[in-house]
């Protein structure tokens, strides 16, 4: 360590205290056990699980992923073993890590499913927070909850009544105004916002003239979407005062810093986990070094500190 400061990387998301702001994004990290040989999981600020539904979901027709320019499309379709299997088979390993576990949940048919899932998770001490996935583009629905401010407000209000645990709303970028949706979340009592989920996208095999994904379309992630995500974080940060967990194409320290400077209290590392499983751990070290190099004692003093060009 460089002489002088030993910077504090700890951040607070609602009631949740993280030892550092780096978490791994839902759907890109399985249930963490898949990465156990490759990285020291205990170093992570938090782990967000793959989204869980009440019943087991088989997911969409393959092919489910395709590479695009500096990114990828996926149409997994929320394949998961269902809440009971998750609690029995996946949660014990997550609990053993001793770091905050954020469980991502979604409804298949009706918003009431969120209430059933929250009631079940509320009883489990080791579940530190619940992420409401109201923005998955792979459910073949006309409209996502997070594309409607009123529906979002109602869902989060109902959820808020059921648990004291930290509630995080995950938002879709496929909207006219993400700030409007973010405001509905904040008014309804959401502790934090996670943004952005994937952008709706499509890719075509021109030889065969077929879509490259079995589900025709999917969600775009990876470095390709980062500028869009940074802008959305900046927009929301300037309008809403609850903490933001920023994500969308974070691959290294520099890209994580963009999100923090734009107003993210924490960051989520996603698609890069497939490419460089060490990325999240490297970012934790890189953020610390950045604070040392810039003589900043506390990471909180960097959040949203974007300057005007003329400064």
């Amino acid at each position: 360590m460089v002489k002088g400061i030993n910077p504090n990387l700890s951040v607070t998301i609602g009631k949740l205290v993280l030892k550092n702001p780096v978490m791994v994004a839902s759907g890109t990290f399985g249930y963490a056990e898949e990465f156990r040989d490759l990285i020291d999981l205990r170093k992570l600020g938090a782990i967000v699980t793959k989204t869980i539904t009440i019943k087991r979901r088989h997911g969409n027709l393959p092919p489910r992923t395709c590479e695009t320019s500096s990114g990828m499309l996926n149409s997994i379709g929320l394949e998961n073993p269902g809440i009971d299997n998750f609690i029995q088979k996946k949660l014990p390993f997550l609990k053993s890590l001793g770091i905050p576990i954020i469980v991502s949940i979604a409804a298949e048919e009706s918003p009431e499913e969120f209430e059933i899932l929250i009631k079940q998770l509320d009883k489990i001490n080791e579940v530190s927070a619940i992420e409401l996935n109201i923005s998955c583009p792979n459910q073949q629905k006309d409209k996502l909850i997070s594309q409607d401010a009123k529906a979002t407000f109602e869902l989060i209000s109902a959820a808020r009544k059921l648990t004291q645990k930290c509630l995080i709303a995950k938002l879709s970028p496929n909207v006219t105004s993400i700030s409007e949706i973010a405001l509905a979340c904040a008014s309804a009592g959401s502790d934090a916002l996670a943004l952005i989920n994937t952008l709706s996208g499509m890719s075509i095999d021109v030889k065969k003239r077929v879509p490259k994904l079995g589900a025709w379309a999917g969600g775009l992630s990876g470095p390709a979407i980062r500028p869009i995500a940074v802008k959305m974080v900046w927009d929301v940060y300037n309008k809403i005062k609850i903490p933001i967990i920023g994500m969308g194409g974070i691959v290294d320290t520099e890209s994580a810093l963009e999100f923090i400077i734009a107003g993210s209290t924490a960051v989520s590392v996603g698609t890069v986990n497939f490419v460089n499983p060490q990325a999240s751990i490297e970012i934790i070290a890189g953020l610390k070094q950045y604070l040392v190099d810039n003589n900043i004692q506390n990471l909180n003093n960097l959040i949203g500190r974007l300057k005007a060009c003329k400064d």
Partner: protein, 258 residues
């Protein structure tokens, strides 16, 4: 078995013929634990275009060296072909389940038959090496003679090799699955092992079912994570979708739903 991520030193990277290349790198950890049918996941560039790793079958190991054969098909494998001996390669492995095989067969008993299509020969050489006592019969198919790989390696292992080409430039004119049908009229094998294009595997699977022979099929899929986390590379089986990268890439023909 532990998965490792290593910066492996490339020993050599040579063109075999056409679009086929042979690469050798050093990783004692991977070499020690690798099983026939498993694969490694390679990051061909330090940047993010192309974004994803490239999964490639393990062709063999010797000492602390790991060998792969790959086909230059797109941007990722094109970049891989520019790598030189001495350079470092970011490798995750060994991944996947590998073939379920008996390392020693009863002397004088039924043989295994290994059926390869194109680049599908790569993992079968590793398998042929591991099956002792009764060496397997090898059937290789390709479009043309120049695309037939590894025949000398199989022969050096003491295996009999039969060929089929679409244009008849080597061996039987026709499909390797036609060759398999011919062979099965005379030989009752212990088990079939196959790796190659999807339509070929489907036919091998049908032939195996008709002849009541067990078959182990190694599938190829585009992958995102390669370690079972993203659920992208799934294939439909009797027990629902299974991950080619983690539950496979080798499946028994009875499990798969085509």
């Amino acid at each position: 078995m532990k998965i490792v991520q290593v910066k492996a030193k490339i020993i050599s990277n040579k063109k075999l013929s056409g679009h086929y290349w042979h690469l050798e790198f050093v990783s004692g950890e991977i070499a020690k634990s690798a099983l026939p049918g498993q694969f490694v996941d390679l990051r061909v560039i330090n940047g993010f275009e192309p974004l994803l790793r490239r999964p490639i079958s393990i062709h063999g190991v010797s000492g602390d060296k790991v060998k792969i054969i790959y086909e230059v098909l797109g941007k990722g494998t094109q970049i891989l072909s520019t790598k030189k001996g001495g350079q470092a390669l970011d490798v995750i492995g060994p991944l996947g389940n590998g073939f379920a095989y008996k390392p020693t067969l009863k002397s004088g008993g039924a043989k295994n038959i290994l059926i390869a299509g194109g680049i599908g020969v790569a993992p079968l050489v590793f398998l042929a090496e591991k099956i002792k006592t009764v060496k397997p019969l090898i059937l290789i198919g390709a479009r043309t003679k120049g695309q037939i790989l590894c025949t000398q390696e199989f022969k050096a292992l003491g295996c009999k090799v039969e060929l089929a080409t679409d244009d008849g430039s080597a061996g039987l004119k026709g499909r390797v699955t036609d060759l398999l049908k011919n062979v099965l009229e005379q030989v009752k094998p212990s088990r079939l092992f196959s790796c190659g294009p999807h339509p070929m595997l489907k036919t091998v699977s049908q032939i195996a079912l008709e002849n009541k022979i067990k078959a182990q099929l190694s599938l190829e899929e585009h992958m995102a994570c390669g370690i079972g986390a993203c659920l992208g590379c799934v294939v439909l089986t009797k027990s629902g979708y299974q991950r080619v990268c983690k539950d496979g890439p080798v499946f028994s023909n009875e499990e798969l739903i085509w």
